[in-house]
C-alpha cells in the first residue's frame, strides 16, 4: 500500500509546522513542507497529497485579522484546486491559525450561517490547557473514538461567533467532568455554544483552535510529574485517525 503523504502548508508567520509534522510522522505519514508561494506557482502539487494541513502560527502577522491574508490567497489563487481536493475525498486539517484561515477562506463552514473567529472575550492572548468534549453526533473522522481530550490553547482570536444551530460542531470546551457550560476559563475565549472545533458534513474537513500536536507524548502534559503515566497524549488520536482514514481513499 502506498504511504500517506501530508502537505504541511507554510506561509510567512507559520510556526507550528515542525511539531505538527512530527505528530503526523509518528502516525506514519510522510510529510512535506510546502510554501504558499510554491503552491500558488504549482497548484497541481496539491493532488499529490491525501492530507493538507494548515498549521498554527501568525500568518502575515495576523495583520488586519488573524489568518485573513493567507485565507484570501487560498480563496483567490487556489480556490478551484482546494474544492477539487475536497471533492476527491481528501482531508484538510486546520489548527489554530489554520482554523482562522479556513473560516476566512470560506472552506468552513460549508453552509450558512456565517461564522468567524473574533478576539477573545478576555481581550488577551492566552496560553492554557483546556478540556474538550467531542460531539458524539458529529461526522468528524478525526475525532472518532475520542470522548474527551485535554489540550493547550494559545491564541488571542479564538472566539467562535456564529448563529445558534450551526451544524457539524465537532468539539466543545468543557470542564474536567465534561460539563460544557463551565464558563471561563474552561471556555477560554467566550466562544458561542463553547465551540472549539467544527467540520464539514463529510467529516473530512476539520478545524480546531486547540493544539493536538502539542500533546502527543505524556511529558507534554502540564501535570505529568504528578499523575500516573500514560502511553500517548490525547492529541495523538487525531493524527492516527486522519492517517487511517487517508489510507481508505
Amino acid at each position: 500500500m502506498a504511504s500517506i503523504k501530508t502537505l504541511m502548508l507554510r506561509a510567512p508567520g507559520t510556526n507550528c509546522d515542525g511539531e505538527t509534522a512530527f505528530a503526523f510522522e509518528q502516525a506514519h505519514s510522510q510529510v512535506e513542507f510546502v510554501h504558499i508561494n510554491e503552491l500558488v506557482h504549482h497548484p497541481k502539487l496539491l493532488s499529490e497529497y491525501q492530507i493538507m494541513v494548515i498549521p498554527g502560527g501568525f500568518t502575515y502577522g495576523d495583520d488586519i485579522s488573524a489568518g485573513k491574508i493567507l485565507a484570501n490567497e487560498l480563496r483567490l489563487k487556489l480556490g478551484e484546486e482546494i474544492q477539487k481536493f475536497i471533492a476527491d475525498g481528501r482531508l484538510i486539517l486546520g489548527i489554530c491559525n489554520g482554523f482562522q484561515v479556513m473560516v476566512k477562506a470560506g472552506i468552513l463552514p460549508e453552509l450558512s450561517p456565517q461564522l468567524t473567529l473574533a478576539g477573545n472575550d478576555s481581550g488577551r492572548f492566552e496560553c492554557r490547557w483546556v478540556y474538550l468534549r467531542v460531539n458524539e453526533t458529529s461526522p468528524c473522522i478525526f475525532t472518532r473514538g475520542i470522548d474527551m481530550m485535554y489540550l493547550p490553547v494559545a491564541h488571542g482570536e479564538g472566539k467562535v461567533v456564529t448563529e445558534p444551530g450551526i451544524p457539524n460542531i465537532a468539539l466543545r470546551y468543557a470542564d474536567e467532568t465534561g460539563n460544557i457550560n463551565a464558563g471561563y476559563p474552561h471556555n477560554p475565549n467566550g466562544s458561542i455554544d463553547n465551540i472549539a472545533g467544527i467540520c464539514d458534513a463529510s467529516g473530512r474537513i476539520f478545524a480546531l483552535m486547540p493544539h493536538p500536536e502539542r500533546f502527543i507524548r505524556w511529558t507534554q502534559h502540564p501535570r505529568w510529574t504528578r499523575e500516573p503515566a500514560r502511553e500517548r497524549g490525547d492529541g495523538f488520536r487525531i493524527f492516527e485517525n486522519a492517517v487511517a482514514w487517508a489510507k481508505t481513499i
Partner: protein, 954 residues
C-alpha cells in the same frame, strides 16, 4: 485618497474597547461608560469607489463581526462620543501597512501607492478636556512614535532626495578642548581616544570623513567593546588589568570543559548538547529604548537577541526565550514620578506586550523569566531578553569568509532607525523644511524576522554561505566591520535596499534597522542564495565583497567615502583606566520584636510585588509552541504554582532535555554586590537542581546592569560582583560562556541622579540526560515527609521579611560554594534515583514562602517544625521563629520524600545538612510550630494563595 474605518458591529462586544475602559478606570477616571476602538486605513492610489468597497468587504472587515465606512476625506466622527485618533509619526513603519498592501495586490488591485494605519478611540461619558488630555498622555499617545490626528494627513512621506557630498570633519587642527567639544553628545569618546584618532589621521595627512569618524566612535563604544570591563581598574592597592578576562572568562579557561564549544567569541556561547547537536544561549538588555517606548523598545529587544543565536556558528534555530524585567512598583503614585518618565504600570504593560507579540509571532516558547520591582528602576527599567538556539554541532564554530566572498545583506530594508542625533528633512510635509527627530525606537516587524529565520536555516543546510552575523546595534558598521576584521572589505552603500529615499551614505552605514543579517557567500553559491531568499519573499542583496587587504573601504556611487585600516579600527583603542573604591555599606540594624503570630507577615511577603504570582504575564506568552515544553512556568494541581526552572526537549524524539533558570536579587547588592552575585549564581544553580537536574553540564551567562562606572563607588561594586562570579563559578565548576553589560543606568532629575540598584542577572543552561527525571515543586501526596536541605543562618539582610518591616539590615546571605556543591550533588543524586517527589528552592521569603508555595500548588497542607531546622550558627543572634522562617540563606531546598524512601534518601544525603522538618497533610493549611514547640503560624491555603495571586490579577 480614501479613509476607511473598520469597527466592531454595534451591539457586539469590543474587547479592545473594554480593555481601554478598564485602563482609563485605573487612571482614576471613572466617568467613561463605554469605549470602542476602530481601525483606520488611509489608502492612496488610483482606486475606484467600487474597488475600495471590495477592499473593505473582502480584506479589511470581517463580514460577521465588523462594519466599515469610507470616504474620500477625513472621516467625520460620531457626534455622541469623544474621539481621539492616533497615528504613527512619519518614518515609523507599521508592519500592518505592508500586509495591507499585499492583501490588496492579492485581490488583483495593483494601483495601491501607499497605506497608512491609525487607531480611533471612541469614549462615551462626561469627560472634561483635562480628562481627555490625561487619557491621551497616559495611555494612548507616546510622542516618541505617535501623534494625534486632527486633520487630513498624507498617507506617505513625499519622496525625499539626497544630494551626495562628501563630508570631511576638521580634526587635525583641533586642540584638546575642541576635540572634546566634537566628541560631546555625538561620539562619546574620551580625550585619549580622540587624540589617538587625531594622531592616526595626522599620520595619513588628511581629515576623517564623517562616516570614518562615526565608525570609529561606534566600534570603540562602551556598547561594542566593553571598555570598562576590559580596562585597567585601580581598587585600593590592586590594579586589575581587564576585569572580564581576570574573572568571568578566567573561570571558563581554568575549568577547560571539553563541552564548551565556543565561548566569548561569537554572538552567543555554545555548548555541546548530545554530540550531534549543540545549544547556544545569549541574554541581552534593551533598557533605554524600553524606557522611552516600552512596546517597541521591548519588541526590538527580543527581536535583537533572537538574532544572536541565529548569527551564532553557522546559524541556530531559536528554541526558547527567557525574559527578566525590573520596574518601579506598579502602584507608584503619579506625583512621585520624576519628570519625563512613563508610569511603571504603563511600562510593564507595554514591555510585556512588546515581548509577547514578537516572541509569540515567531513561535518561540517563553518558558522562563522573572519580574522584580524597586523604586529606583523608575527612570531606567531593565528589560533582559534571552534566547536559546539549537544547531548541528559541526556548525557550531564561527565561519570564516575567503577573500572574494560576497557581503550579502538579508532581511528587512534600511531606514533611519536608531540613528541618534541625526535629523531629517521631511520634504514637502510643510512648506518649510521641518526637522523631525529620527526614530530611535522602532516597533519591530516580527514576521519579517520569522521569514528571515525560516529561509536562513534552509540556506545554512544547503551550505550556501560561509559565515553569518547579526545586524543589530551599530548596524552594518558593526556587523560588516567586525566580520571583515581579519580580511578587509569593500562595501557599496548605494546597493542597500532602503525603506524610503533620502538617506545619506553615513545613515545607511550606521542605521540600526531591525530584522537584518549579513552573510558571507562564495561567488559560486550566491545566485542560488538570492534565488532561495526570493522564493520566500525575503530580500538578499550583494552589497560588497571581502578582500585580503585588511582595509575597510566604503563607496557611495563610485566615490570612496571611507577608508580605514582594520588594525587601527579594531586594535587602536587605548585601554581605559579607571579608579574604583569599595566601602562596605552600613544600614540600620533592625529592631522590632517578634510578632506572636506570623500569619500577617507571610501574607504580606506573599503579596509583595517581587514574590506574587506572575500568572497574568506568563499566560500571555506561548509556552507550548514547538511542542518541547516538559516543565512549564506554571505547575501544580491547578497549573498555577511557581515552577523553579523550565525544561524543554528540543529534539522531539530524543529523551534529552535543556534546563533554563535564572538568579537575580538586587536587594542584596544594597549591602554587598559580592554576595549579591554569589547569591544569584547559587539561585540559578539550585533551580537547576530543584527541577531534577545536575551540575554536570551547566553553563552560565552574566548580565550586569549598573550605574555610571566613572563614579568610583559604582565601579567598586562592579569589581566585587565580578570577583564573586569567579569565586563561585570556579567552585561550582560551572563555566561562563557569554555575557553582556549595560552601564550608565542612571536617570538625571532636578534632585540628582537616580541610580538603579546594581543588578546582576545570572542565567543558567543545563543539559539533562533524561527528562523523565524532571521534578515539579508542588506537593504530591498526604503523609509524605518534608525535608530541608542546607543550613539556615541568621541571614535576613536584604530579605523580604526585613523589607516589610522597613529595614534593609546588614546580614546579607552568603554562599559556601564548596559545601553548596556537595549538597547539590547529593540532592541531585537522590533525585536521579527518583527518591524525591517534589523539590522547591528557598529564595525570597525563605522557608515560609517556599512551604506555602509547595502546599498551595499541590493543594495539600503542610506542617513544619522550626526546631528541627539545621541552624548554621549556634549563637544565632537572638534565635527567633520569624528569623528562621524567613531567613534567605542560600543553597537550601524543601524536599518531599515518600516515607518508604526515607532511609535511602537519608543515607544518600548523609554528610549534607538535611533534616526532616515536617510532613504533607490533608488539611489544607500551612501550620508552623516554633523553636519552643508552640504554633506560630496557621493559615488556610486558600488565604495564602489569594494573597499571592491578588496583586497582579489584572
Amino acid at each position: 485618497m480614501f479613509w476607511i474605518a473598520v469597527s466592531v458591529k454595534a451591539g457586539l462586544p469590543d474587547p479592545r474597547g473594554e480593555a481601554l475602559q478598564k485602563d482609563i478606570h485605573d487612571l482614576g477616571i471613572t466617568a467613561v461608560t463605554q469605549a470602542r476602538v476602530s481601525d483606520i486605513y488611509l489608502l492612496a492610489g488610483n482606486f475606484t469607489e467600487a474597488e475600495v468597497g471590495r477592499i473593505c468587504q473582502e480584506l479589511l472587515a470581517d463580514p460577521v463581526v465588523h462594519e466599515y465606512s469610507f470616504e474620500e476625506a477625513f472621516l467625520s466622527p460620531d457626534e455622541h462620543a469623544h474621539f481621539i485618533e492616533v497615528a504613527y509619526n512619519p518614518g515609523v513603519m507599521d508592519p500592518v501597512e505592508e500586509s495591507v498592501r499585499k492583501g490588496i495586490r492579492d485581490l488583483g488591485i495593483a494601483t495601491v501607492e501607499s497605506v497608512k494605519t491609525a487607531k480611533r478611540y471612541f469614549l462615551w461619558g462626561e469627560l472634561s478636556e483635562q480628562d481627555l488630555k490625561t487619557i491621551c498622555d497616559k495611555l494612548l499617545v507616546n510622542p516618541v512614535i505617535q501623534h494625534m490626528v486632527t486633520k487630513q494627513e498624507a498617507a506617505s512621506l513625499p519622496p525625499a532626495t539626497y544630494d551626495f557630498s562628501l563630508q570631511s570633519i576638521e580634526l587635525r587642527s583641533l586642540d584638546d578642548a575642541m576635540l572634546m567639544e566634537l566628541s560631546k553628545n555625538r561620539l562619546w569618546l574620551n580625550l585619549s581616544e580622540m587624540k589617538r584618532i587625531q594622531d592616526y589621521f595626522s599620520r595619513l595627512g588628511r581629515n576623517p570623513t564623517d562616516v570614518e569618524l562615526e565608525t570609529l566612535a561606534q566600534t570603540w563604544s562602551e556598547h561594542c567593546v566593553h571598555k570598562t570591563f576590559k580596562g585597567k581598574i585601580k581598587l585600593d592597592q590592586l590594579t586589575i588589568d581587564n576585569l572580564l578576562k581576570s574573572t568571568i572568562m578566567r573561570v571558563t579557561e581554568e575549568l577547560e570543559k571539553p563541552w564548551c564549544l565556543s565561548v566569548f567569541s561569537d554572538n552567543a556561547g555554545v555548548i555541546d548538547f548530545d554530540g550531534r547537536y549543540a545549544i547556544c544561549f545569549k541574554v541581552e538588555t534593551h533598557n533605554h529604548p524600553s524606557a522611552v517606548e516600552p512596546y517597541g523598545g521591548a519588541a526590538t529587544g527580543i527581536g535583537g537577541v533572537i538574532r544572536d543565536p541565529l548569527g551564532t556558528g553557522l546559524g541556530s534555530k531559536p528554541i526558547l526565550n527567557t525574559d527578566v524585567f525590573c520596574f518601579a512598583p506598579p502602584d507608584s503614585p503619579y506625583q512621585s514620578l520624576p519628570q519625563g518618565v512613563l508610569h511603571p504600570r504603563r511600562i510593564l504593560k507595554g514591555v510585556r506586550a512588546g515581548v509577547a507579540d514578537y516572541a509569540n509571532r515567531l513561535g518561540i516558547p517563553t518558558l522562563n523569566g522573572a519580574i522584580l520591582f524597586d523604586q529606583r528602576y523608575v527612570g531606567n527599567p531593565l528589560v533582559f531578553c534571552g534566547t536559546v538556539g539549537l544547531l548541528p554541532k559541526n556548525m557550531s564554530q564561527r565561519g570564516q569568509q575567503q577573500p572574494g566572498d560576497l557581503v550579502v545583506l538579508v532581511g528587512g530594508s534600511t531606514g533611519r532607525d536608531g540613528i541618534h542625533g541625526v535629523t531629517f528633512a521631511s520634504g514637502e510635509l510643510t512648506s518649510e523644511s521641518e526637522e523631525i527627530s529620527s526614530t530611535s525606537v522602532q516597533i519591530g516587524n516580527p514576521i519579517m524576522e520569522k521569514k528571515l529565520i525560516d529561509v536562513l536555516l534552509k540556506a545554512r543546510d544547503y551550505g550556501l554561505y560561509r559565515r553569518i552575523t547579526d545586524c543589530g546595534g551599530g548596524g552594518l558598521s558593526s556587523a560588516v566591520g567586525e566580520m571583515a576584521a581579519e580580511t578587509g572589505v569593500r562595501v557599496y552603500l548605494e546597493r542597500v535596499p532602503l525603506k524610503y529615499s533620502g538617506l545619506s551614505y553615513t545613515e545607511i552605514w550606521l542605521s540600526e534597522s531591525q530584522e537584518r543579517m549579513v552573510v558571507a557567500a562564495p561567488p559560486s553559491t550566491v545566485d542560488q542564495l538570492i534565488h532561495l531568499f526570493a522564493s520566500e519573499d525575503v530580500a538578499a542583496t550583494v552589497i560588497g565583497e571581502f578582500t585580503d587587504d585588511r582595509r575597510l573601504q566604503l563607496f557611495y556611487n563610485g566615490n570612496l567615502v571611507g577608508d580605514l585600516d582594520m588594525e587601527f579600527l579594531h586594535h587602536g583603542l587605548p585601554q581605559l583606566e579607571r579608579e574604583a573604591v569599595w566601602k562596605p555599606l552600613q544600614h540600620e540594624e533592625p529592631d522590632f520584636p517578634q510578632p506572636a503570630d506570623l500569619r500577617e507577615e507571610i501574607l504580606l511577603i506573599l503579596g509583595s510585588w517581587n514574590v506574587c504570582s506572575k500568572e497574568w504575564v506568563i499566560r500571555q506568552y506561548d509556552h507550548e509552541v514547538q511542542g518541547g515544553s516538559v516543565l512549564k512556568p506554571l505547575v501544580g494541581i491547578n497549573n498555577d504554582g511557581p515552577g523553579d526552572a523550565a525544561i524543554i526537549k528540543p529534539i522531539l524524539d530524543s529523551d534529552m532535555g535543556i534546563i533554563v533558570s535564572n538568579g537575580i536579587n538586587p536587594k542584596y547588592g544594597d549591602i554587598d554586590p559580592y554576595w549579591m552575585a554569589a547569591s544569584a549564581i547559587d539561585e540559578a544553580l539550585r533551580q537547576v537542581i530543584a527541577v531534577g537536574g545536575s551540575l554536570r553540564r551547566v553553563a552560565l551567562l552574566d548580565n550586569f546592569c549598573w550605574g555610571n562606572p566613572e563614579r568610583p563607588d559604582r565601579l567598586g561594586g562592579l569589581v566585587r560582583a565580578a570577583q564573586a562570579c569567579y569565586d563561585m563559578a570556579i567552585a561550582y565548576e560551572t563555566p561562563f560562556i557569554s555575557g553582556k553589560d549595560s552601564l550608565y543606568n542612571e536617570y538625571e532629575t532636578e534632585k540628582g541622579s537616580i541610580c538603579i540598584p546594581p543588578t546582576l542577572l545570572i542565567s543558567a543552561v543545563a543539559v539533562m540526560d533524561h527528562v523523565e527525571q524532571s521534578l515539579s515543586m508542588d506537593c504530591k501526596r498526604e503523609g509524605d515527609l518534608i525535608y530541608i536541605v542546607g543550613t539556615t543562618y541568621d541571614e535576613l539582610g536584604g530579605s523580604h521579611y526585613y523589607a516589610i518591616h522597613g529595614y534593609v539590615g546588614n546580614s546579607v546571605p552568603r554562599v559556601d560554594p564548596k559545601k553548596g556543591k556537595m549538597q547539590m550533588d547529593a540532592l541531585s543524586a537522590a533525585t536521579a534515583k527518583r527518591l524525591v517527589r517534589a523539590c522547591h528552592d528557598l529564595s525570597e521569603g525563605g522557608l515560609g514562602v517556599a512551604a506555602a508555595e509547595m502546599a498551595f500548588a499541590g493543594e495539600l497542607g503542610m506542617v513544619i517544625h522550626l526546631a528541627k531546622v539545621p541552624l548554621g550558627d549556634p549563637t544565632f543572634r537572638k534565635i527567633r521563629d520569624d528569623f528562621v522562617l524567613f531567613s534567605e540563606s542560600n543553597t537550601r531546598f524543601l524536599v518531599e520524600v515518600t516515607p518508604k524512601d526515607k532511609h535511602q534518601f537519608e543515607t544518600m544525603m548523609a554528610g549534607a545538612d538535611c533534616a526532616a522538618i515536617g510532613e504533607v497533610i490533608s488539611d489544607k493549611r500551612l501550620e508552623v510550630y516554633g523553636l519552643k514547640g508552640e504554633r506560630v503560624l496557621s493559615a488556610p491555603l486558600a488565604e495564602l494563595k489569594e494573597a499571592w495571586q491578588k496583586p497582579l490579577r489584572w
